[in-house]
């Protein structure tokens, strides 16, 4: 009977072969071919020039992931300590923005961070800018916020924070409370309870949160275009530019995608080693 049930997966296995495996093989083929179709390694030789972009993307994505973790973990932890009604409302509030497209939310940040944007208008009104000018003897009319690396990181944190909170929360909320009580009874103080019991047990959630924030951050192109203004281009921008943007060269684009994919897979594999193969990316 078990064998018969396993036939249920056959359509999907065919589907995967067609639409998951075959497209990736296409990327590999493109990465190793020249514009007229012959085999070449030249596409990879250009990647050296893009090392800066790789460095920048991974740096910004790591910073964004770290900030998400620093904000997301405490929030998840505190949420799990509240009453059930609060928890439910909080969950809804975290999920709600995801139903509006992330481009809308990012677009809103543009008008907030502009030189004449809402934040600078606010600073002007409350006199922060003149205060700054009188302290530092400068003569600025606004704080330069948009089109900086900081703005890009902000966009990443803002958009992907729910992806950090949700998995961590769903692990913490299921923690067996008796373990914590037992640790207390055995004389552990709050810090030790957290460090020795809660943190290790919530690690699977943390790991899947990190994956879910890091991967989209490292490969984004809309956020960097909108909040970075093209001055801080990331891997995503580079790839997009080679396919649908201003420098058509799909072979190089495929090579960059391939290298990025390999690096991300290695990172994730190394990280998941710590998680003892716990591959449950819990979300809802």
């Amino acid at each position: 009977m078990k064998n018969k049930l396993s036939h249920l997966a056959i359509p999907y296995v065919i589907w995967m072969a067609l639409f998951v495996v075959a497209p990736i093989i296409m990327v590999v083929i493109y990465a190793f071919s020249s514009a007229d179709g012959g085999f070449t390694l030249a596409n990879f030789s250009k990647i050296g020039t893009y090392a800066v972009v790789f460095g920048r993307s991974f740096k910004l994505a790591l910073i964004a992931t770290a900030i998400c973790l620093l904000i997301g973990y405490p929030v998840s932890y505190m949420m799990s300590k509240e009453g059930p009604r609060f928890q439910r409302i909080a969950m809804v509030l975290i999920m709600l923005p995801m139903w509006m497209n992330f481009l809308l939310r990012t677009y809103s940040w543009m008008s907030i961070l502009e030189n004449n944007g809402l934040l600078n208008q606010l600073f002007q009104k409350i006199g922060l800018i003149s205060l700054y000018n009188s302290i530092f003897g400068t003569n600025i009319e606004y704080f330069h916020m948009i089109n900086t690396a900081g703005a890009v990181v902000l966009g990443m944190v803002y958009n992907y924070l729910p992806f950090m909170i949700l998995p961590i929360y769903s692990v913490i909320v299921k923690l067996d409370n008796s373990l914590i009580e037992a640790a207390r009874d055995l004389g552990a103080n709050s810090l030790n309870v957290f460090r020795r019991v809660i943190l290790p047990l919530s690690l699977p959630g943390v790991l899947s949160g990190i994956t879910m924030v890091f991967v989209p951050s490292v490969s984004t192109f809309a956020i960097s275009k909108m909040l970075g203004g093209g001055t801080e281009i990331l891997l995503g921008d580079l790839i997009e530019q080679q396919f649908l943007g201003g420098a058509y060269n799909p072979q190089v684009g495929a090579a960059i995608s391939l290298v990025m994919m390999v690096i991300v897979v290695i990172c994730m594999a190394v990280m998941n080693r710590f998680g003892e193969g716990e591959e449950q990316a819990v979300m809802l």
Partner: protein, 669 residues
Amino acid sequence: MKRNNTFMSRLFTVLVFLFLYAPIFVLIIFSFNAGSSNTVWRGFSLDWYRELFSDRIVMRSVYTTLLVSLLATVISTFAGTFAAIGFYAMRRRKRHLLTTVNNIPMMNADIVTGVAMCLFFVAFFTLWSSFAAWFNGIQSFFELPTRLTLGFGTLLIAHITFNIPYVILSVSPKLRQMDKNLVDAAMDLGCTWMQAFWKVILPEIKPGIVSGALTAFTMSIDDFIISYFTAGSSSSTLAMTIYGMTKKRVTPEINAISTILFCTVLLLLVITNVREIRQEQLAARRKALPTATAAEAARYDSRPSKGFSSRFPKFIAAAAVITLVLCTGVVASRNASKPVVNVCSWGEYIDESLIEQFEEETGIMVNYQTAESNEALYSLLKSGAGDYDVIVPSDYMISQLIEEGMLEELNYDNIPNYALISDRFKGLSYDPDNKYTVPYTWGTVGIIYNATMVDEPITSWEVMFSDEYAGNVLMFRNSRDAMATALLHLGYSVNTTDEGELREAFRLLRDAKERGVYQSFVMDEIYSKLEGGNAAIGAYYAGDYLAMLENNPDLAFVIPEEGSNWFVDAMCVLKDAPHKEEAEAWINFIASTEANLANMDYIWYASPNEEALESYPDYYEECYEEELDPEIYEIMAASQETLDRCELYVSLPAEIRSLYNDLWTELGI
């Protein structure tokens, strides 16, 4: 101490929520703004909602989004559930392998998934067209379509593909938690395996299926990147439309969409949760009062009260989504059966009432798309993502497209208005024999600056590279124009093929970028940046300057002393375009004097139609009851004297083009 701690942690949570919601509230508030700015409040109005509902492109993309999300959710929930059961029943090693493959779309960056699928589809289409040609050749019973393009079908396949893993992910744990003996017991008691599935397995894993479906729907709605690479040009999701809008002059229609979306989702979630809370109260009461009616008890028992699962709200939610799809579908597809023409032009480049007028006169529906730059248009055409009939490229791109055999020769018998085009714009270098093109507009490139933000009038390209206004300068986001500014400043021809000169120009740009001269690289975003006083200087096109001047009178325009570029944008039809006749009707309509006058008045680019160009000052006077400033007319329709200082781009040889691409990518770094 303890209390203080709780307070601090609550404060922290509240701040985080404030951070999450502040931008959303900004969007909502400014959707009621009377002005078109997103930073300056000009009073309350509902105009943007009215415009939104009459905007066919937006309504259609909402429909596409909802339809594709709904279909993808339903299909992937079915497929994913079966697949999860299948995986569960497999031997361990095989299961492990398949689970790994299944995880690929989740672990992979969206952009890689999108690009991979785009390449795959296009490769498949190429294979298909040779197969179909062969097949149609050997038999004549039925004809296979030879020309497949990216569209709704590929979009749906892509969404299903990235949704299924999420369904499997939420169903699998439920299967593992299930008591294995249950199925065996059912079979021992005489169930067929089909019955065992329906009566035993399905009820056990139902919560997993529901949360899987919900995740899938959320992912579909939120997706932009994968859709961007797989939807082609004929169907676009809301996210793609929004992305297109952010690259143009943004209208608060975006805010209105956000507000509607937000309120709809909020309402749905509130309904769901109120029901759940009620049930919990009911359950509590039932516990407290053991005498509660049996009916009430039964009602409670039939519903698990955990998570997002209770039957009634789910029903409401599903019904609401389906109704929404149907409603937008009706709005969007009013004209689905009429002939169409797919036009791809630039942003802010047409008086949109012309589209409606054309549709009324001819009954042909216009699917009007925009591309960002000539180079981006070329990528769209080459990658197969752009499936258009009419395009409006500039001079140098036209000759490149002709050279690569990508344009169709026009039948000028269908375009009588071609006779109205001035001889000055016929037989130019890009189309010497007048076989492929009908000019759309022409104009010059120059520097636009905010007179209140600079110390003295700008006269030279120098400002684009000097530190004087560092951080306040906007540079072109396309290789040809950006390089041209540098080449002109260095005193070289914009058409140079000398690698040394090009590299020198590139270094000039790169050094300026590294010193922080450029605030950003822009195309039509320049509108909001310059109009809002967010930047002082930008290089752009004369017509756009005049359009900006209407909103910010402090702006000034100059064609620098080193000279500049002048351009002609012309309408062409793509090779094997499926709607060639409709395309020629469109071209003819646009070439008419009335359309040219309306366009000139709206976009401020000069018309190649002799009569329209000459009579524009009178037309202006008639419309606005004041004389057209001759200076403005000169900026719009530059005199021959000015044009003599400017150079037309010509198409560059392939190796120089690839050098441009490399340098451009390197500049981005």
